[in-house]
Symmetry: C2
């Protein structure tokens, strides 16, 4: 239901934007390739490429020989035309204090720098801490500040874009009103803030088992909490106040009792469930799941299946992805157990899978999201020129 009207100028910008979109997607195209992809004529493609090269967005990346005729020029986006940065703030780092992981990538997505540091947010202001991390990262990679077009933050909480505040977050200072606008002002770039589980889902969509899915729901089983991300053909559903997927609060009281899903399958609940068998207090929920077998595994799978079934009942996704440290620890064993538990419970047809991302999914997803935002900003720049 779009209803734009336009003139020739619109055509020019549309065609330039279309060509750039193809070069971003992942590029390395000759004029003939672009002609095929855009259905534009040779002179037009030449003109578009001339303008894009002049603007510094596109460069000749090589020559394609081997066929008869002159060697065709291979065009690609200029990797250094723009950069995207990502910052993941984690609730508990290895040492117990919140840790910050950041990365920087160029326009083609190649990671140019990565930094990890333990920040004590109780002592240091988030504003200075986060800008500091980013400044170091930029300097080490030798990237000028104004080339970073977008910084994407991932936080262990939900972000409400209307009030521009981070909510349901345990890290001190991160929930402060005004922090996000201050960050944007200090960094002098577009910034984005999103829930860590949502970002993990973005990574899953781009590099994981969600790649070919029409849509999927990602159930995050963390050490402390639960989360759910809802991917609809590549766009995430965030809810009115960014609170979609806070399924820890899902009520399970049939009559009177006040239990919710968090009490059933969050880390502490799993520890308690396994409590009889081990008196060693140093085990994490992930350890419990990794070592579980027999009745304990069945019970855990049954509980997870309740959450999965609830999600399927509401959303009917093509695919449900189990992710987060607990799902990773459980791996294929847990997956089969959950599948079996679901089959026992209800005839549901959604596929279940375990995440295919070994690395820091949140950081990767934040990079992907930041890069997409940079792409969109560049395309919008062209359209409004």
């Amino acid at each position: 239901m779009t209803r734009p009207a336009g003139s020739s100028r619109l055509l020019r910008t549309m065609n330039a934007s279309a060509a750039l979109a193809h070069l971003l997607d992942p590029g390395m195209l000759t004029r003939a390739d672009l002609r095929r992809l855009t259905a534009l004529s040779t002179p037009t493609i030449s003109e578009v490429l001339r303008r894009l090269t002049e603007a510094g967005l596109v460069v000749v990346a090589g020559h394609d020989s081997g066929r008869p005729g002159p060697s065709a020029e291979i065009y690609n986006v200029n990797p250094e035309a723009a950069y995207a940065a990502a910052v993941s703030v984690r609730d508990v780092g290895p040492g117990g204090a919140p840790s910050v992981v950041a990365a920087l990538c160029d326009l083609t997505g190649r990671v140019r720098g990565r930094a990890e540091s333990a920040v004590d947010f109780a002592a240091e202001d988030p504003l200075t801490a986060l800008t500091g991390v980013l400044e170091n990262l930029r300097d080490e990679a030798g990237v000028p500040a104004d080339r970073v077009r977008h910084v994407q933050f991932g936080v262990p909480g939900s972000y409400d874009p209307r009030t521009e505040t981070i909510r349901h977050v345990d890290v001190p200072g991160l929930g402060r009103t005004g922090l996000v606008p201050e960050l944007a002002a200090a960094l002098k770039t577009e910034i984005g803030v999103d829930n860590d589980v949502n970002l993990a889902a973005i990574a899953e969509r781009r590099r994981g088992v969600g790649r070919d899915a029409e849509g999927f729901a990602l159930l995050w089983l963390g050490e402390d909490g639960l989360g759910l991300a809802i991917d609809l053909a590549g766009t995430l559903m965030r809810g009115a106040r960014g609170g979609a997927g806070e399924i820890g609060y899902m009520p399970l009281h049939t009559n009177g009792d006040r239990r919710d899903l968090h009490d059933l399958i969050a880390g502490p609940a799993l520890l308690e469930l396994a409590g009889d068998e081990n008196t060693n207090g140093n085990r994490t929920p992930a350890d419990v799941v990794r070592d579980a077998g027999g009745d304990l595994l069945t019970e855990i799978a049954d509980r997870i299946a309740v959450g999965v079934a609830a999600v399927i009942a509401v959303l009917d996704p093509h695919l449900v992805v189990l992710a987060g440290p607990i799902a990773q620890a459980g791996g294929g064993t847990l997956l089969s157990a959950v599948r079996a538990a679901l089959r026992r419970a209800a005839p549901l047809e959604s596929e279940i899978a375990v995440t295919a991302i070994d690395d820091d999914a949140v950081l990767l997803g934040a990079l992907d999201a930041g890069l997409t935002a940079v792409h969109n900003a560049l395309l919008a720049d062209i359209r409004n020129s």
Copy 2:
């Protein structure tokens, strides 16, 4: 991100399509109005209107006098350029047998005919029954068959567009494979099939309390079953197999028992809940809710609140609309009770409301959906010409 490329032909069709979109939205515009709305120049608007009137899509609906200068021509879409039909198949009619309600409206949305009939699907084939109803409706309204561009069906079940079958449906014959393609072939038009609850949500979006909402979830409390429709800024979420919103299957077992949401708040459960107080077997669940008060009302509200809280936990909608016969029977009294129950249970911020549609919401929604489909078809026609 769209990436179309194009030339002058695209421009022409885009501008025609933009003008038509404004005339459909609800029309009655002068050339000057269109110039303002589309930012096109006077000669272009004239040219576009010439083409649209020649195609019979647009007519001069009047003259705007009262201002200095010549009276401006007021343009509007030709109401008779195309028609949309809607058919709602209900599980239980007044007499117990499934009933069929159908309506026909012109391009401006004015209802031109309406028919209601009790069809015994056990005896009659759905194909002939439904095409027969539509044929009568067309004849009575004096509308030629080829002017009906879209027929929208509403069914008490979920529709899987991939297999083109209706599922989770109790009406005999309606779940048969091949029925939907056969209907399309027999009617020789585009047809659409959708869940009745989804269609009620469309009506709520267009005419009810969802009009100004960014997005809402509609919880349907029917005599027999439950349903949920998820509206995201005007588009409905249907799920992988059209099964999104089948929340009757939402599990509520905390340990071992197999209860789900259907067992908690569907009609039969409410009847059972009120069973002690009345031995009269003729009361419907809606009657129970209408007369409920005191502890019974509180208990019912508590149960409904569980469903609402589950929906909010997953989706975080701006608004939750309670609809369906039971919600209508409960009205404001039930609404206050559910609000109070939710406040007791959890600090959730979504608004709750009761449907504002007194008429047959499903039929109205089906008409709205059909009309929108006709609009889109006409716009697409223009774009591909």
